[in-house]
Symmetry: C2
C-alpha cells in the first residue's frame, strides 16, 4: 500500500544532471545551481542520491556509460588496417562533439591525483582499453597479453588530446598523429625490417 515509488524521476534527473556536468564541468559543481538548472531542488537531489558525492559518482558512471555506448558505434575492428583504425580512433576522440567528455575525463584525472580515494575505478579507465586495442594491434605486440603497444598508442592519443585541448592547434596535432602512423607502419606491413 502507500504511494508507489517513481524510479523514473531519479533516472531522468541523473540524465539531465549528466548533461549539466558535461557542459559545466565537475570542479565548481554545486547543488543549488544544478537544481535550478534542472527545475528541481537541492532537497530532491539529496533525496534521490543521498549525498553530493553519490550524485557525482552516479553522474560519472552515467557519463562513462554514454561514452562506452558511443564507442560501440565505431567502425568494425577487423575491417580496416591497424593504421586506419588508429586514425579512426583519433578522429573520433578529437571530434568537437567529444570535447565535453574529454574535458570531464581530464578533470576527473586531475581531481583523482589529489583525492585518489574518491575514484577507486580510475585505473580501470586506462586498462579497459587493452582488450580492444590489443586485438587491433596484435601485429606489433610481443604476445596476446602484451600491453606495451596499447599503452603507447593510448598515450599518444591522450597526449595529443592534451595538446589539442590546450592549444586548439588541430593541424599540428593531426600531423603529429600522421607522424606516429608513419613510425608505426614499417613495423606493421613487412614481417620486420632488417634494422632491428
Amino acid at each position: 500500500m502507500g504511494r508507489p515509488p517513481d524510479p523514473a524521476r531519479r533516472e531522468a534527473t541523473l540524465a539531465r544532471a549528466t548533461d549539466y556536468v558535461l557542459a559545466h564541468g565537475l570542479a565548481g559543481l554545486s547543488l543549488r545551481p544544478l537544481a535550478a538548472a534542472l527545475d528541481t531542488s537541492p532537497r530532491m537531489l539529496l533525496y534521490d542520491f543521498g549525498s553530493k558525492q553519490e550524485l557525482v559518482s552516479a553522474v560519472l558512471a552515467e557519463a562513462r556509460r554514454r561514452g562506452a555506448m558511443r564507442l560501440a558505434g565505431l567502425p568494425p575492428a577487423q575491417a580496416a588496417s591497424p593504421e586506419e583504425h588508429l586514425r579512426g580512433i583519433w578522429s573520433w576522440m578529437s571530434a568537437p562533439e567529444r570535447a565535453p567528455f574529454v574535458r570531464l575525463f581530464f578533470e576527473v584525472h586531475a581531481d583523482g591525483l589529489v583525492h585518489p580515494e574518491n575514484y577507486p575505478h580510475q585505473a580501470e579507465a586506462i586498462t579497459d582499453w587493452f582488450d580492444t586495442l590489443g586485438a587491433v594491434f596484435h601485429d606489433v605486440t610481443a604476445g596476446p597479453n602484451d600491453t606495451v603497444t596499447p599503452t603507447l598508442v593510448m598515450a599518444v592519443i591522450r597526449g595529443l588530446l592534451f595538446d589539442l585541448t590546450t592549444t586548439g592547434d588541430r593541424h599540428r596535432t593531426d600531423r603529429a598523429l600522421d607522424r606516429f602512423c608513419e613510425l608505426l607502419s614499417p613495423a606493421l606491413r613487412p614481417p620486420r625490417p632488417a634494422g632491428t
Copy 2:
C-alpha cells in the same frame, strides 16, 4: 620617509606558498588554511598579493620558474643521442621527485579547460618545448621550423605521465617508452630507410 617596505617578506611567503600548493594541490586551495600553514594571516596574503587570484598566478609562475631551473640541470643536449636524450627526459619527468609538479601541471590544465580566461599563457607551456626538442630531434624533422616531431614526442611523454600517475604502473609505462624509442630509432640512425 616612513617605515621601509620589506619585499623579502612577500618573496619568502611566495616560496612557502608554492611549496604548499605543490604539496596540497590547487583545487581546494583556501586562504585561511594556507595562511595557517605559513604562519601568517589571510590579511597578509591579501596585503601582499592583492587577491587570491593574483596569489595563485604568482604561485604558478614561481612553480614554472622552479621547473625551468631544474630543467636546466638536464644532461647537455648534443652529448647524447636523441634516443638517449628522450630516455633522459622521460626518466627525469617521471621521477617521484617531480610528481608534485606533474600533479600541478595536470591540475592547471584541467582547470584551464573550464576557465580558459584565467590561464592566458597555457598554450606557451606547450609550445615552449619546441625550441628545445626541435634542436634535439632535428634529424627526423622536415625542417628547422617543423613542430610535428616535438609535438609527438611531448604527447608521448605527457600521455605516459597521465598513465603513470593514474595507474602507478611504472614497469609498463617504462616499457612503452622503450617501444617508442624502437619505433623512432630506424628513422634516426640511417640517412633514411627506403620504405618512406
